[in-house]
Structures are given as C-alpha cells and as structure tokens.
Amino acid sequence: MNDLRFAVRQLIKSPGFTLIALITLALGIGLNTAIFSLINDLFLRPLSFKEPDRVVHMYSNANDRNLLELPISAPRYQHYRDGQTIFDGFGAENINAFTLTGLGDPVQLFGGKVTSNYFDVLGVHPIRGRNFLPQEEDTADVAMVTENFWQKRMGGDARVIGRTIILDGVPHTVVGVLPNLPFSWIGPNAEVWTTKPFAIPGFSYERMMRGTGFLRVVGRLKPGMTIAQARAALPSLDQSYRTQSPDKIDSSATMSLKTLPEDVTGNLRPAFATLLAAVAFVLLIACSNVANLLLVRFSGRRREIALRMALGASRASVLQLFIFESLLVSILAGVVGSGLAWQLVPLVPKMAANFLPFDPETGVSLSFPVLGFTIALSILTGMAMGIYPALQSSRADLVDGLKEGGRGTSGSVRQQRFRKILVGAQVALSVTLLAGAALLITSFVRLNRQSIGFRAENLWIGLVTLPQAQYPDLATRQHFVERTLAALHAIPSLQSATVSGDIPLLAGAGSQTLYSRADGEILPVDKRASAVSHDIAPDYFKTWGIPILAGRDIDQHDVSDHQNVVLISQAGAKKVFGNENPIGKTLLVTSGSTPVEIVGVVGDVRSRKVVEPNDMEFYRPWAQENFPFAVVAVRSGLRVDAVTKLVQSALNTVDPGLAIAIPQSMDKIVAQALGQARLMMWLLGIFAGAALLLATVGIYGAVAYTVEQRTGEIGVRMALGAQTMDVLRLIVNQGMRPVIFGLVVGLAAALALGRLIASQLYQTSAHNPVLLVATMSLLGLAALLACVFPARRAALVDPVQALRAE
C-alpha cells in the first residue's frame, strides 16, 4: 500500500511525464480497443446459428478457367444431396427479390427461395410458428418472415402465423417468424423466404437444368466429421456427377467447402490483419515511448534507489516499486483509452456499414470481451514497459549511487543502448506504418481516378422485380419496358431513361455468360470463357454515358424474332478478335450456344469491381434476352427522392402493383464500391499520423530528458570551450543516431510489409521508391525537429549555473 501511495505521489510530482505517458498510452490502447471491438464483432462473436463451425458453404470452381467460388447448379445440388454421406442436412437458397403488395404501398423485399430444410441446416429456430416442411418444398405458397418484417410491416400481430401476404402477386401463408438473422450471412434488407428454390426467373426448366449455377448451398457436418474429412469426400461426388452428367455446363467443375465463420469474414481478413498490425504498431510505439521515459526517469533516481537499498530494501522490493509505478500509468491509460474507445466504437458500424456486413443501426458499444481485452492490454503494457527499466535501474551500485559524483548521468551504457534501441524501434515501426499508409493512400488515389467507363453523376437507379405471374416471358417483360420508358420519356425534367438487367458495381452485377467464336474451332460448352452480360433497353449507352466506338446502338428492329445481336466491350473485341474488325462477326453465347451478331463495340466499363481489369462485356437487347429484374436508370439533375417520386408515378401508370427497391444515386454505389479502400486509407492514415506524432513526441521526450539529465555535462563542455554549434551538433548527432538506425530497419521492414499488402494495392508498386524516400524524409525531418528544440535549449545552458547545480 505504501508503494502504491509512493507511486501515486511520484506521478503527481511529475505532471509533465504523467500527462505525456497517459496520453501516449491512452491513444495506443484506445485505438487498439476500437479495432479489437470491430474484430470481435466480425470474427470472434459467433454467428447466431447453432454451432456455426459445423455449417459449411459449398462452392463450385472451374479452376481451368480461373472461375472460383461460384454458386451451385440445381442438378449438381440434387446429385450431392442424394449421394452425400457427410452432412446431417444439406440445403440450398436461391437468393431472390419479391414485390410485397397488400400491406400498404407495394414494396420490394429481399430474401430467398429455399429448400424446406434450409433453416434447419443453419440451425435457426423460428421465434413463432415453424420451419418449412418437406412437402412444402416444391408446391406450397408458404413464407417465413423476419422479426423485423413482423414488427415493422405487420405491427407485431400476435396472429401472424397463418396470415397471408402477397408476394409477386401470389398469396403466401406465413408459417414462421425467424429471429433477425446476421447481416454477414443474409446481407442487408433480407426479410422474407419462400420455398420452390429450383427455378431461375426467366429461365425455362430445361435451360436451368443445363447446369447454370444459382444456388447458395449449405451443409451441416455430421457429428465428429471434420471439414478436412468432408473435403476429402468431395472428389468422388465430383467424379460421379461428371460421369452421370457429362453434358452439363458445370460437369468439369470441382467443389470446395468453407465453414460459415470463414466464409463471411474471408474477404475482410487481409484488410483487418493490416489494420490490427497497424494499431499494434501504434501501441508498440506508445509503449516504447513510455518505456524510454520510464528508463530515463528511473535511472535519474539512482541515489534514491541506492539509499533505499542502504536502508535495507531488497532488489525485489525496489523492482516492485518501479513496476507499481509503470502499472499505475498503464492502468490509468487503460481507463482513459477505454473512454476513447467508448466514443470511437459506436462510430464503427456507421463508418463500416457501407462495405462491411454491418447493420448501421446496430447499437455497438464496448462489450465485456473488449473491456477485458483493454484491461489485459493495459496490464501487459504496464509490465512490458516497466520491467526492463525497473530491472536495469534496480541494479544500481550502492556506493556509486550514493556518491553520484560523475558526469553524464544519463544512465549506464546498457541503459543508454536500450534507450537508443527503443527510439530506433519507434522510428522503424513508424516508417513501416507510414510507408504502408502511403502505399494504400496512393493506391486509393489511383483507384479513385480509375475511369469506370460510365458517368455516375446525376444518374438515378432503382430496381423493379417483375412478378412471374404477370410477366412470365420475354414478350410481356419487353412490353413492360416499352411502356415504362414511354411514361418516363413523357416527363420533361428527366434527361434520359433506360432499363437494364443489372446495376454495375453492385454484388452480382450482370450475369456470367459462356461464349465462343462461331468461326474456327468451337470449344465444348464447359471449356468456354465466360463474360459479364447486360440486357439493355434503348438509350442505355446515352443514359449511362458509355461511348459507342464502332458499329451501331441497338434499335427497334432488334426484337425477339429478328437476328440476335450484341454489342461488345473494346477490351473484349481486342481479346477475342485482335486486330480483326469484330462488326458483323458471330459469337455463340449462353449454355444454349445462341448465335449473336456483333453490331457494335463500346467503351470499357468496370461493371464488377473497380479494381478488375477491363475484359469482355456483352450488351444484349432487352427484347431478345431478359429476366424479371428491371433496373431503371434515369439521368436527371433532380434530387434522388424527387426522381423516385417521378419514376414511381410513371410506374403506377404502367402497373400500380410494382414497387421500386433501393432507389439511390449511382454516385453512392460507386462510392460504396470504393468504401473499403477509402476506410482503409482513412484508418491507416490516422494510425500512421498517430504513429508519426507518437514517434516525434517520443524522440523529443527522450532527447529533452537526456538534455535535462546532461545539463551538468553540457556545462562542463561549454566551460571547456564548446560553443553553441558544438552543443547543438552533439545533441542532434546523438539524438539522430538511433533515428537513422530506425530509418534503415524501417525501410527493410517496409519493403517486407509491401509484399504482404501487395494484394490490397491498385496500380501501385509495393516498393515504390518515391514513396519510401518521402516517408523516410518525413520521419527524418520530424525527428530532426524533435532533436533540434531540446538541443537549442541545451545550447543555452549557463555553464556557471550548470556547474553550480552539480
């Protein structure tokens, strides 16, 4: 207790040290806690399914064409379902959108059509009613809704089970209410599920059964079955499918498995590993800062230590005293850091919701595991910082300590070396972090400048799902588009309008279509390349601002009973036809090898991801190929909500039962597509800034404290003839030596780190010499300034005063 009181008194006695140590550590601990909270939510908190580690997601892979992690086709699902012995349950979901009518205005809902056992496989139990029954899988019009749907759209009706809701014009009986399911699995906005999963809207049964992948397949491993055993069982199923269905377009594909936790976080792991490393760096810099200050502080107390030992204190008790002091600092910093994290953590879902599977409305706050992490981190930090300085300082020579007669009381050679190593380590960590941040910032700037091929500004987007009952075929859906566009063209405030089958840069943009040249050797279907295909109505290129580089646009003659035509991207033209003129040439597209004539070449568009290089893209007339999902795009200078009202009113004149889903500006979608890179850039930028600040403060603190400790020595040097420049040079030289060492080590680390983050970089070399030199110069300059100020103070030392103080 006495030691604790003494430690408190020591800290109060040096408010400057206490404040710097507290702020430094609190920043490190606070940032770590905030990031850990995010990781806890994403990676450590289990999905709200029963034993999620036992649930696996099955993917199809065409390795020879580098097409990985694709959905599963219906025939393959059925083959595996009937032949497998590794799963307790094997289910599938056909992700879908529905138009809900009869409960207020028509609205678009998201969800899926699932096998009857789907929620049993996931291990989700309804909070009301029941899961689907096997006999309901193929024929029954039944639905399950989420708790949100039930509360928001049905007012929490106690008699919800058995009530009817109209989905796509068809009455469905609600049989169960599901708890709200994790965003990370179902995505945002999913509210309703029905049965009858084996149908692709707009596809005939025969076409669907050719092997087109569209199902999200999950299996629950049998008890005792490991994922490795399950993976080992797949090749024989792959082989039997290949043998039994050689004509399917996915016959040569191989299957892979991922556990659900791995599946929902897999894409984010590299980014979060980078962030975690970055905050760990910040904490390490903070720790080495404070350890350095502690070492100088403890070594300045040699006389006190010697006196304590002369009075009978054991080395252990001196050690304990110092560790108490450093623990006290770190625990106080932990408290302040928790406060900082408490403020930062609720901001995380809002910042991250654009690109992470996060519900922005989730009230995330510091949880017990996170709080525990902070406490453990504080204690660990305190021990790590304090133990070496305490060990070193408690080794004081009793006689020397009591005499305290010499010059250069900046600690023993070993202590000085350790302090230099600490400063060097801080600089090395900061260079690494700054270089990483500089690379990611440069990468983001390049990504942001990357042409996406269309004009996103003033472009309004809305999705309309066409119910199968009213819009069963090409002709009815073409008729819908003609009428809708006529209604939209009649609105004078809209500059142009069009309809297409997909939204670029949104997940699942454009369907993948197999293709082959019709001339020369024609590859078998399962060996053909695949490309993104867009079904487009007239005025598509005008509305989206995509240039037609050769040939012509689609026109009113490109209808279903005429020659099938297609426009292709410039990159596709070059890839397939090289220097040949592609106009007039024929391609075979889709699994049915439909011949289409190329009538035009258009500018390249980044329709899947901004980072993906330009490739073949198809644009087929809506009248010749379409599905019951219509994306309305309108170019207008009006605000999003104003356009939504205008489009909805136009839509009402065509079909009052249809609703617009997720109306938004294309700008927003583009911004979301860059969201992860932007957030990474911001966070790493902030961490790198914090690192730079901490390292500068650390170097300043170390040099300033050394100057203070060496006042007498500097006085002697001046008495011996040293002039201002001599003292400045001495202090700056000694201060900068570990900095230069740190810069060199940091450069090596940055080169190594570059390799690790190379996959996250866009058009930026991980070893960009300009960036590395700039980073080192920035840190070198900051370090120089941090040395010059205390050095100037040293140069102003009055030798008489300094010598007298001795």
Binding site: G408, E713, R717, A719, G721, Q723, V800, E806
Partner: protein, 222 residues
C-alpha cells in the same frame, strides 16, 4: 595580464531588490603570478573565478585581459578569447564519465578546431608529460580522485593556456593527493603559467605568491 576595475556582480531578488555577490572589485594579476583567492563560503570566490574564466557574463565594471577590454567583447568573442588563453580546473574534476581518459583530453582541442593530427600529438604529449599513458583507455570511474584531478589539470592545460583557473582543485582529495596536485601547480607556475586558484586551505595558498581575501563580496586584503 588581468586588470579588474570596479567590477560588480549582483542577482535580482525580486520586488526590485538586488543581492551583490561581488562589490567594487579592483584587482591586478600580472603574468607569472600564482594567486590564491580565499575567504569564507559565500564570499564570492567561485563567482570571481567564473568571471575571470569568462563563463559568467552578468557583471558590470571593467575587465582587461592582456589589454583586451573583455567588458566590450561580445559573448562569442569572449568564448574565443577564453578558448585561446584560459584553462579551468574544477573541484569535482568534471571529467565526462562516458569518455575515456584519452577522449577527455581530446575534448577541449576538438572545441578549439585543432586538426586531428595536432590533437593526437598534443594528447600524446599530455599523456606522456603527466605519466598517464597507461590509463588512456580507462574511464574516469576506474580512476582514483587524485588521478581524476590529474586528468582534469592535464585537460585544462592541454591547449597551452596563459592562465589556469582552479576552483578548489584539492577540495575532494586526501592530503597526499592534494600535495601532489599543488606541487604540479607550483611546477606549472615555475614554467611560466599564471595561476589563480580558489582555496580554503592556508597550506595550499602557501604554494602561491599572493593571497586575495574576499569577504561578503569585497576584497579585504590583497
């Protein structure tokens, strides 16, 4: 060599009050003198020595060093003059702990911009002259008090100053070591070096040819 006229040193106490450490000092030191400044603690002995050594600039009056009016010199010019003409020996030796004996001797030369070869020659000569060649690689903590002060003196005279100032040079030494140091001073004086020392010891003062008594900042006898 040294002429002080009406020299005074004071410190402000706050509230418009001033405390005088040296009052109306008039003192002449001729070349070859060995002067001992004596007086009780607080008499202003060390202050006088630091003024003579041009470490202290906050005084008034006139100070001539070899006819150079120090009181008219700027700080940098005083530093140059000091480096050329004066050596200083401290009671606590003030050797730099982290430097070897050799490096401690080299320090004043490096500040006087001697070339590397000149420094090496002068340090070698000093080591030889003081018979401490065998100790050149030792650190101050590895030496006795007497040995440390020997290095302190060697360091003070290595750049061949005309004036050696010593602030209680034997204050931290036992008597036999003290005698050795004073004998050394006598020898240096005999070789032509002017010495001004501050001492409490009558015996040590006896090594010099003149005693200046200070009391409460005034010269009471010289």
């Amino acid at each position: 060599m040294i002429r002080l006229r009406n020299l005074e040193r004071s410190y402000p106490l706050g509230h418009g009050q001033t405390v005088y450490v040296l009052r109306d000092i008039n003192l002449d030191v001729t070349e070859g003198d060995f002067v001992s400044v004596m007086g009780p603690s607080g008499a202003g002995k060390s202050t006088l020595l630091h003024i003579l050594g041009m470490h202290d600039h906050g005084w008034t009056g006139e100070y001539f060093f070899d006819e150079t009016a120090v009181h008219h010199l700027k700080s940098k010019e005083r530093a140059t003059l000091r480096n050329e003409r004066i050596g200083f020996v401290f009671q606590q030796y003030h050797l730099l702990d982290d430097l070897t004996v050799y490096e401690n001797l080299d320090i004043p030369l490096s500040y006087r911009r001697y070339s590397k070869s000149e420094r090496a020659a002068l340090v070698a000569h000093a080591l030889d002259r003081f018979q401490i060649v065998g100790k050149k690689d030792l650190y101050p903590r590895q030496l006795s008090g007497g040995q440390q002060q020997l290095i302190g003196i060697a360091r003070a005279i290595i750049a061949s100053p005309k004036l050696l100032l010593a602030d209680e040079p034997t204050g931290n030494l036992h008597s036999s070591q003290g005698e050795e140091i004073m004998e050394l001073f006598r020898k240096l004086n005999a070789e032509g070096m002017t010495i001004v020392q501050v001492t409490h010891s009558e015996k040590n003062a006896g090594y010099g040819n003149r005693i200046v008594q200070l009391r409460d900042g005034w010269i009471v006898d010289s």
